[in-house]
Amino acid sequence: MTMLVLTRKVNQSILVGDDIRITVLEIDGDKVSIGIDAARSVRIMRSELVEETRSVNLESVSSSANLKNFKKAIKDKKG
């Protein structure tokens, strides 16, 4: 997928479709504050949190719980 690259100054916006406006609010060193105007039904997420949730879900599936020993293992470790 090709990425569209646009240069914006503080307070300038980008429109995505008809209903989403993304505005650069503030730039401070390597941090950029971005404002997003969109309908509440539009889901906006920090992409690294989606990536981390994906990792956690996959680790969860490979959990090494031995069903028979689960309670005993917990009680033993608790000591």
């Binding site: 509440r40 039904s41 889901r43 997420m45 949190l49 989606v50 981390e52 949730t53 994906r54 990792s55 956690v56 879900n57 996959l58 680790e59 969860s60 599936v61 959990s63 090494s64 719980a65 069903l67 028979k68 689960f70 309670k71 293992a73 917990i74 009680k75 470790k77 608790k78």
Partner: protein, 157 residues
């Protein structure tokens, strides 16, 4: 319907026991249908078992057991999208990771799974708040729940 599972063997289930997660879970996007299982052996954990892949089952926990002060402030849209009309129909679960060293067991409080008990729908909601950890340690809470006789098998106190 008969369901074959890797961890729990063969189970007899009804279609209405299945939750449809139409978006799948991040990392498991291809799997859309799950059942919620409980076995006394791994209480207080529950399991989200895929009905499409016998090998896929995620241990989950009631997030309020993992952290009593948990306050996820779920967006209103999460409820409306799933058709949850009343709070009693909402089931909230946190995905658990059980590593080799069981004392390092964690729950994902940042991305709880919300199920509609009445409509049999659900999805994983990634919260905006930076307050909640993706890897909140739960060994203490699980051990306390077991020691406290919080057990479906009845009271042993």
């Amino acid at each position: 319907m008969r369901l074959n599972t890797l961890r729990f063997g063969e189970l007899e289930l009804s279609e209405k026991d299945c939750f449809q997660l139409t978006e799948g879970l991040p990392g498991l996007e291809g799997l859309k249908s799950y059942v919620l299982l409980h076995t006394p052996e791994t209480h207080p954990l529950y399991w989200l078992q895929s009905t499409e892949d016998p090998a896929v089952a995620l241990p989950v926990i009631n997030p309020f057991l993992a952290l009593p002060e948990y306050d996820p402030a779920l967006p209103e849209t999460a409820f409306s999208e799933l058709g949850i009309g009343s709070p009693e129909d909402a089931i909230l679960l946190a995905v658990v990771v059980i590593p080799e060293d069981i004392t390092r067991m964690t729950a994902n409080l940042l991305a709880p799974i919300l199920l509609n008990a009445r409509g049999n729908t659900g999805r994983q909601v990634i919260l905006e708040s930076g307050r909640w950890s993706l890897r909140h340690p739960i060994f203490g809470a699980v051990a306390a729940a077991l020691a406290g006789g919080d057990d479906d098998a009845g009271s042993d106190t």
